[in-house]
């Protein structure tokens, strides 16, 4: 059985009011074919979890700037002035989280943990409204799991069964998001037959992946 689908099939998978995770660090490791397709749909009231807001003129950043999004959970929006403006004019709710904490929160969801204790952000606004737990005299912020309905991730190679290998610095948030969503859609540059992928170097197992879309 192959998990490869045409990008147009995603019309039936994405719904209004869902939570979407999008992998990538700026442009790198972002599922551009899928994002370009999402930019043609008319989804409403979304929540998006993403490392950064990207650039407003393409794929991820365009989606964040233009789609009907209620809330973005992210570590950085400085590269996308359109998102900044939407925040300033209260059209969108932005929850800013330190990048390492965001990574752990996503991982916690996939790992079945109730959260992790991080020293990052103690004494700053990142600690506001958070539970503080002391261990051996040190204060930590309890960072609780963040999951999503759908994760849109990008890998380099897959086999038909959905095993993934990433390339260079395009890993970033993709492997952890692959574990943290109910439905995981991976865009890949190359789909190999089962048995043709280097199985010692698979980073995301096929058990996590629901659909594969080939990059255009």
């Amino acid at each position: 059985m192959s998990k490869v689908i045409k990008v147009e099939r995603l019309k039936d998978i994405f719904k209004d009011q869902i939570r979407i995770m999008i992998g990538g660090f700026l442009d790198c490791g972002t599922a551009e074919t899928i994002l370009d397709y999402l930019n043609t749909l008319d989804l409403k009231n979304l929540t998006v979890i993403v490392n950064d807001a990207g650039y407003n003129y393409k794929s991820k950043g365009k989606f964040l700037a233009q789609a009907d999004i209620d809330k973005i959970i992210t570590s950085h929006i400085g590269t996308n002035p359109d998102v900044g403006n939407k925040m300033t004019s209260n059209q969108i709710d932005i929850e800013l989280i330190p990048q390492g904490t965001l990574a752990e929160q996503i991982r916690s969801k996939g790992a079945g943990l109730g959260g992790v204790l991080t020293p990052t952000g103690i004494g700053t606004r990142a600690a506001e409204g958070k539970k503080i737990i002391e261990v051996e005299g040190e204060k930590y912020i309890l960072a609780t799991p963040i999951g999503a309905d759908i994760a849109v991730i990008k890998a380099w190679r897959s086999d038909q069964s959905g095993n993934l290998i990433y390339r260079y610095a395009a890993k970033n948030f993709n492997p952890i998001m692959a574990m943290a969503a109910d439905t995981v859609i991976a865009e890949v540059e190359e789909v190999l037959d089962n048995g043709k992928i280097d199985n010692n170097n698979i980073m995301t197992s096929n058990i996590f992946v629901d659909y594969i879309v080939k990059s255009k």
């Binding site: 992210t74 400085g78 330190p98 390492g100 260079y168 610095a169 890993k171 952890i176």
Partner: protein, 216 residues
């Protein structure tokens, strides 16, 4: 202006020891690379998921999957490696970086640093800065001594939202080198182009002048 920035970067380069693992922030910190002596091997970590970062890629030799944390196409040494964002921040938060160099909007005599937002004006997000300041063994703030309006950025107490509380170890400006200690801010070096009086006048923080004040 670029003279000033280069002076700061050059002085910071002297802090790097052979074999150090270092993360350099955007702006002045990036310039530090240019001043590291040939016989000092430094292993540069980039929070988007690589270590062993080398120079930016030459035009025509860009690889879409090798970028630095500023989103610019980069290259990697033959001993470099790549990892996901969870691992990248394990390296940062877990104390595996010998040093991080960050820019700042303000820094103060208690080692507090503010570099991620100006309320109601600039809210890019903290990205990886909160993790870097908490996690690296040595935190160096690379900062221009005064604002364009002539106000000291070396404060007695930061009034912008903090990036980290009490984590800065060393402050380097174009005029001065200051060590953060329990007793306060030690002025250890002043620039060749300035006087002790000028430095004290331009510094809001209380300075404890070293008995062995050096020039740089």
């Amino acid at each position: 202006m670029s003279d000033i920035k280069n002076k700061i970067a050059k002085r910071i380069a002297e802090e790097i020891a052979d074999g150090d693992v270092v993360n350099l922030g955007i702006g002045i910190p990036t310039l530090v690379c240019d001043f590291i002596p040939e016989d000092v091997e430094v292993n540069i970590h980039s929070e988007n998921g690589l270590v062993g970062l080398d120079r930016e890629a030459k035009e025509g030799f860009e690889d879409k999957d090798i970028i630095n944390a500023s989103g610019r196409y980069a290259t990697i040494k033959n001993t470099g490696s790549f990892f996901d964002s969870a691992m990248s921040f394990n390296i940062i938060r877990g104390g595996h970086l010998d040093m991080t160099v960050l820019g700042g909007l303000q820094v103060d005599e208690k080692g507090n640093i503010a570099n991620w937002m100006i309320p109601n004006k600039l809210v890019p997000g903290m990205g990886g800065a909160m993790d870097l300041t908490v996690g690296a063994k040595k935190v160096i703030c690379a900062i221009i001594h005064q604002t364009k309006k002539g106000k000291s950025k070396i404060k007695s107490e930061c009034n912008l939202p903090l990036t980290a509380k009490g984590e800065v170890d060393l402050i380097v400006t174009e005029l001065a080198v200051m060590e953060v200690k329990k007793e306060g801010l030690f002025l250890t070096e002043i620039a060749k182009e300035t006087t002790l009086e000028e430095v004290i006048k331009k510094t809001e923080a209380k300075l404890i002048v070293s008995d062995n004040l050096k020039r740089f």
